[in-house]
Symmetry: D2
Subunit: 333 residues, 4 copies
Amino acid sequence: MADRLRIAVIGAGRIGAVHARTIRDHDRAELVLVADPDAAAAAELAAALGADSTADADAALTSDAVDAVVVASPTPLHVPHTLTAVAAGKAVLMEKPVALEVAAVDACIEALGENAGRVMVGFNRRFDPSVAEVHARVQAGQVGTVEQVTIVSRDPAPPPSEYLKVSGGIFKDMTIHDLDMARHLIGDIESVHAVGQHLDPEVEDVYDAATLTLTATSGAVAVIVNSRHSVAGYDQRVEVFGSTGTLEVTNQRASSVRLHDASGTEQSGPFLPFFLERYRRAYAAELGSFIEAALSGAPQTPSIADGRAALALAEAADRSARTGTTIDLEVAS
Amino acid sequence: MADRLRIAVIGAGRIGAVHARTIRDHDRAELVLVADPDAAAAAELAAALGADSTADADAALTSDAVDAVVVASPTPLHVPHTLTAVAAGKAVLMEKPVALEVAAVDACIEALGENAGRVMVGFNRRFDPSVAEVHARVQAGQVGTVEQVTIVSRDPAPPPSEYLKVSGGIFKDMTIHDLDMARHLIGDIESVHAVGQHLDPEVEDVYDAATLTLTATSGAVAVIVNSRHSVAGYDQRVEVFGSTGTLEVTNQRASSVRLHDASGTEQSGPFLPFFLERYRRAYAAELGSFIEAALSGAPQTPSIADGRAALALAEAADRSARTGTTIDLEVAS
Amino acid sequence: MADRLRIAVIGAGRIGAVHARTIRDHDRAELVLVADPDAAAAAELAAALGADSTADADAALTSDAVDAVVVASPTPLHVPHTLTAVAAGKAVLMEKPVALEVAAVDACIEALGENAGRVMVGFNRRFDPSVAEVHARVQAGQVGTVEQVTIVSRDPAPPPSEYLKVSGGIFKDMTIHDLDMARHLIGDIESVHAVGQHLDPEVEDVYDAATLTLTATSGAVAVIVNSRHSVAGYDQRVEVFGSTGTLEVTNQRASSVRLHDASGTEQSGPFLPFFLERYRRAYAAELGSFIEAALSGAPQTPSIADGRAALALAEAADRSARTGTTIDLEVAS
Amino acid sequence: MADRLRIAVIGAGRIGAVHARTIRDHDRAELVLVADPDAAAAAELAAALGADSTADADAALTSDAVDAVVVASPTPLHVPHTLTAVAAGKAVLMEKPVALEVAAVDACIEALGENAGRVMVGFNRRFDPSVAEVHARVQAGQVGTVEQVTIVSRDPAPPPSEYLKVSGGIFKDMTIHDLDMARHLIGDIESVHAVGQHLDPEVEDVYDAATLTLTATSGAVAVIVNSRHSVAGYDQRVEVFGSTGTLEVTNQRASSVRLHDASGTEQSGPFLPFFLERYRRAYAAELGSFIEAALSGAPQTPSIADGRAALALAEAADRSARTGTTIDLEVAS
């Protein structure tokens, strides 16, 4: 088993840059290549981090100098890029969502066959130290039987309208993280009810806010509350209510300064502004987990099956919101 | 307009005792009479507070020495006691719920006719200083347009099984407070979706936990999460998310002591144990509002119409939980 | 042993009114008389609480209808009023400070002789539920050996200048509470160092802020930080740092509302404004302790010896601040 | 002005490694060399970060391939290493303390002459985002006139006894950071009073805890409370009380998880364990400030004069604790 994993990053956009820098800073990883059809963007990112660059994604995906790839290309390319890399023997860390349709994920899973374990889907929040701690403590029985989970996830501001057009809608783009979190904490979901809201006339999306109720086969219920615009900042909270206690992840701040004055006695600083800051350590831990599995040959987690399950829940939520009915899901027996 | 309101309390049970003591301590009220079929209980409570007692509720409801009555008798007697008192010209503070069926409330409203304004329904949480502050700040526009409301309400432990048998179920007994709170904060509700859980085999109720999603005619959505057993204590939180900010009511504690030691760095004391402690000041403020309206002749709020609306939502929630469908409500135009 | 203690309050001022109302609301106390040379003030307070009144303090202090008195007269009358009442066989709850000079306290102690145990000095903060909890947990060894105590005590605004002129200065008037708290938590003090500040030109006092360092015979050190003007409100904190943990009493608020908006993400409401609100429950608990000892004949605590010790520390602090030297105290062996 | 600063780190110990890694991760810095008499230690650290290594400190301090050096050698070498580097035209970031005696610092300042501005002293806490925010807000007048500062600084556990023997004692080793912080927030100090405690028999130091009171020429007073053993973890708090408000820096935690259960309702995770974690971002910001001044030629801050002033306060505190007197300082006019 090698000491360090040589990694190429496919996509020099915002999330690709996060991964590239995380790789550069990791003791057991080496950033060898950045690929992007925008050759200048690839070159600039690569130069800043001491790596090579290329405009040819396929070359990167199949290069002999590369052990693993991070697929951070646009969503429609996630599946083809992943299949090419896996065919070339690489481990793959694929950004979410796997695709915009469950059928496409099923096709990918079939094509991967017994190599599916080489693919990790980037549900980074599982690796957030606070979320991971809650998960571990839940698994260790610290709150007894989990009965109710409440997830609040609100973005500070909506993405640009050109992004919204290709995002697949709030459930596949934004809620999908919370759907994976709910599965992570309470297991298989058997029904979904969703209410969508369109509040901000400036946002060209059917729904820019949503509230979901999920029931699990365990008997637990999860509530998810989303909004694309939270003036107080990135609002990321999780609460697990169990028979013997409650665990919660509260919002985090960059500074620990509080002001007390005549107008109020406790004024804390702003939340960590957005996912790059809030989940910085999550990306590093995600990469660490990916590297460890890639080097040891263990199956990657979250798996592409997790990616499929979250997407199926997102599709169900969308249907529920549009029809006003509760959607039952087929749960693999 | 008289200076002080002479009040009789009907019912010497737990909630009757709360009201009796609150009246005794109020500057503009005088506790004159406590009535209970259990004459000894009435006498004991009355003696401790310097009042007279009787086993004859009707005598108290119609006594010339009484300006107003607090109806804290068992739920099936709420309507008859209220009607008797109003017929005798008294103002009435009626404990919730008005009745266990909407039809009974409608009959009461019809019988009251133009005297309905003399009746306050005891949704005490509206008068909690923190809730009242949030409501006032919402009304003052401090969070802009209200978009999402989250209410968590969990009791420390279920009531005795003999109480559960007559309580009308979790939605009419417990959730009804949260349903009134939701209406108070976002106005008329047009649809209700509820999921019930039966988690504790010891609790002889169909549901001992529930999750509700309410949509308001305003476009806002409210989520309510209930449980009859919260080992960490009485869990009472409200959050109003608006277009320009979020207001929240957090849990309260009896002491402000925190311990930091090797096993953890911030350990606060328990929540206020239950409603008598948590809403002590709410009961006092509720009484103050009742007295003021009774003395001035202004219509009481929350009104019996509010009591009806909350009960109708509770019935709808029960139906939704049993059928798995979303229930649409008739909203008075 | 009687069931209820019949109590007269001497002094119808602000603090006298607090005691009178607390007595009225206490199950085992009866407010029988309010005495004040200002007969109208006495009558008004008495009428509101269902008691009699008099302008003749001596009559109240010696009345057969009275078992105990609360001495809330001006400081120079504390000792004579107390001696008269004790001579008449009453129990006495005396407001702090006992006097403005240690010599006067010594004379009082000598005059009381073996009846000294019938006198409680009103260091109400010992009875605050949070402080009492910290004290009990410290005694129970929850933080191991106490090593350092930090007390922050800041008033929202200075008292009127006519009060300041007779107050005896910041150390005897304000710090005395903190000096008693320090003794309560770490025992006998053997040296005092104080720095005085005169910050507000409007305040006609030598010092309107102060910082003290006390060393105890136990080896522990206490720091006290005082100010007469805290724009954020009444700032009352205590922290006990021990070998196995830290206990702290944080500031308290009337409401539990927090606002998150674009200008800040956690804005809590104001502190409880001043001592009447912050220490309301302390006054009730203090009275309860006084009644219990008075009815059972047990010696009162805090004793007049505690009152003397705190005053001696206040005198030492004053001397230290004026001379810049550390003052050693005689500790009773 | 060059784009990137080529830096050598002198000393491959714990703090040297922190600086080396921080340099490696900085956009405008290049780690070129690690020097340590323990050649293996230097080589290992250098290899991990892609730099060269040497056992010859002088070679590193004068190398043409180096623009600046971080002096993280043992305290007695701070001055000679700094003088060698400055003579060779380098910018120097020198770890604290400059030396163990004020006289040695004065000799260094004299030897540096007009090059003193090329030397930064590593008071990293000034660069902590929270401390920097408080400082900026104080400078901006957000709390009016600063009147009282309270600094609590407690280490989780004492350093090894071999370190303690050469540390210079608690005031020069540990308090020196807080003394610099006090100067940073309230300016020149004119008197120091200190009480030392020796609490832990295992710690071979005269004092393992201390409490200081500093008076500033501005009229403000600062209190510092130190301990070498805090079982709850690294306790780092600062509070600035001013005429119009209070700013505080609270302790920080690695996770934002809280547990509520039957034994307590709010249990947060441990503090960030020690300075490497708590001040990680401070080291990065410190380096950034150093680089900017080195590249632009601006004088470094904190300066060697700041290092001298903090050491003089530490010496005064030591004398005060040993003699029980208040020590007046000469303040440069």
